[in-house]
Symmetry: C2
Subunit: 188 residues, 2 copies
Amino acid sequence: MELAQALRADARRNHDALVMAAAAVFAEVGVDAPIKDIADRAGVGVGTFYRRFPTRADLIVAVFRHEVDRCASEASNLAKEYAPFEALTRWIDRFLDLIITKKGLAAASSSDAPGYAALRAEFETRLVPPLKTLMDAAAAEIRTDVSATELWRAVALLCAPATPDDFDQTRKMVGVLVNGLRTALPGA
Amino acid sequence: MELAQALRADARRNHDALVMAAAAVFAEVGVDAPIKDIADRAGVGVGTFYRRFPTRADLIVAVFRHEVDRCASEASNLAKEYAPFEALTRWIDRFLDLIITKKGLAAASSSDAPGYAALRAEFETRLVPPLKTLMDAAAAEIRTDVSATELWRAVALLCAPATPDDFDQTRKMVGVLVNGLRTALPGA
DNA sequence: TGATAATCGGAATGCCATTCCGTATAAACG
DNA sequence: CGTTTATACGGAATGGCATTCCGATTATCA
């Protein structure tokens, strides 16, 4: 599945070293960390970095791909175990766990800077479809004029400045937003 | 009212020139425009800029102070003319007009970067109190566990990437958020 | 008209992104 | 195994921007 076959052995080594170094640096400093720091930590030059990952977003995608996939895959389980709206809110909570614990990820994923197109595309491809499925399932209870893309974008924006410390406060405001999707009262 | 008396004549001239130049540049490029561009346009050196406005936020505050005040002052009129929740939503709409039409202002005002403390303080001082008044008036219809500060912050975050083109889309998501504050259904 | 304190301008410094190219080497070939 | 060659490497070089610093200027007042 990985298209690594086309890479020369040293190139693959460097690729892997960069992803590992980036994971460490991202955890410490956030996804905005200077490229040089990541390259140094991986023991490669910045030229090598840019050859392997033309944009910072490409690196971010590589670092978090597995976590994103795991988050996406949990949607179907929630859909089976809970009522539609409950499944939706629980999955969004799960999404918050993913995004808030990665310093700067929410801001980066909701950035419209051209360099972050790859990251937006990743979310659009992997996370929006399951979200859409959950929203469709809950269609009877929520506004239908808000698309899944619009919703994740809004959630990401609300999370943009959040750190794990603000988790509860951010969750509250996301809760307000999601509550605003309802067409019926909680008690109904 | 302006504490300009303490300034030497040339200093005051430069101050005013900077504010005017900044207003023009902000309108064209946004509030993130390079300081040098603003200084050039005002015909002063960057040293003069930094002496007069230690942070970019100080300049932003100076440029938009009147508009911010006007927005704040309209809250009381709306409170008189409309039912509480209606007044709240209308004022937030008014706030959107203010913030979305100034390129980068929403992002800057919701930034938690230390350099933007002055801008956050300006909003907190001038806009949050009227918002709180409107929210208090509508207390019977909305959640009471969301503070005025939290609400404006969330609204600003939703507007952060918006341009006048996205106005309708942004307004929609802000509408969802505000709707999520309600404790009763629209029809109730 | 000086004296003096406030101000000015822009060169200098530092940080970071991104590109470029001479050097090195993995891998394919004979 | 050499040889060849397409890939890949590293880090110096370039460019943009923020911010600081200080010798040169100038408003103000006695």
